[in-house]
């Protein structure tokens, strides 16, 4: 047990490395360096993955909110369109690659209640990581009652059906971004239980697979 994390949860990453191998590192080179994208699209992906603009865009896509003094509605639509264009021109991710995403405390409980067969989508650009640890670090704790312990919801996306995405490595994160409204189907749910002091800690691992569609 490390910092309240069940030991078995640490093992998720090992298998992922074996499955992914090196092809993922070639995606961005293939797309950006071989002329598949305009300079504007490349700039938008950089802006999304390296700055704070992702929050602005995703708040707009989820809630329709625009921050005064920042990008206008029209600029946000263009920002989204360029990112989507970049993703659409990217090569398909190999089948069976795992992408992790930790869910914040506002939605963790509802998403943990999804069932097998349910289809899931997010209106926002979907930021994921090939690193389990990164995905877990983004998960925020949620509680039902204090006596029920602390809960985290972590999505395990499994690629299939020619799923597209852009890999944009940076120093602190191996992020893969996917199109808004990408449709995933829940295949299984796994509850990993741990202990933090006297408090029970639960990790809800929700596995979803690509459907090849959009909501």
């Amino acid at each position: 047990m490390v910092d309240g994390r069940p030991e078995e949860i640490e093992g998720y990453q090992d298998h992922q490395c074996a499955v992914l191998g090196s092809p993922v590192l070639e995606w961005w080179e293939h797309v950006a360096l071989k002329g598949g994208l305009s300079a504007d699209c490349i700039a938008s992906v950089k802006e999304y993955t390296r700055g704070r603009a992702f929050q602005e865009l995703n708040n707009y896509l989820r809630y329709g909110s625009v921050t005064p003094g920042r990008k206008s509605r029209k600029e946000l639509e263009l920002f989204k369109a360029r990112i989507v264009a970049a993703i659409e021109k990217s090569p398909a991710i190999p089948d069976g690659v795992v992408l992790w995403r930790g869910i914040g405390n506002a939605a963790g409980r509802q998403i943990a209640e999804l069932d097998i067969e349910d289809d899931y989508a997010d209106e926002a650009v979907l930021s994921t990581s090939i690193s389990f640890d990164t995905g877990r670090d983004y998960a925020e704790e949620w509680q039902t009652l204090p006596s029920d312990g602390i809960h985290y919801t972590i999505l395990r996306f499994v690629t299939s059906e020619q799923q597209k995405g852009i890999f944009y490595p940076r120093e602190d994160e191996s992020e893969i971004i996917l199109r808004p409204e990408t449709l995933w189907r829940v295949t299984n749910k796994h509850l990993v239980e741990g202990q933090r002091g006297r408090t029970k800690v639960y990790y809800h691992i929700i596995t979803m697979v690509s459907t090849g569609g959009y909501s």
């Binding site: 690659v97 869910i103 506002a106 097998i116 067969e117 299939s160 189907r185 295949t187």
Partner: protein
């Protein structure tokens, strides 16, 4: 969850559907084991008897 069934952020349930053999294979490849999916959720139920040619 909001009244219209949409989550308050970070995604929502948008429907449901059967899980195909290809999707199950992808999960198995990724995780190292076949997910425990009930027959009713499978596009091809596991317990479905194989079609056999007449034997007369």
């Amino acid at each position: 969850m909001k009244k219209d069934g949409r989550f308050t952020g970070e995604g929502r349930k948008v429907g449901h559907g059967k899980i195909t053999d290809a999707q199950i294979a992808a999960v198995k490849r990724a995780t190292g084991y076949e997910p425990d999916i009930p027959d009713h959720a499978r596009a091809t139920p596991k317990s479905e008897p194989a079609v056999q040619a007449p034997t007369n």
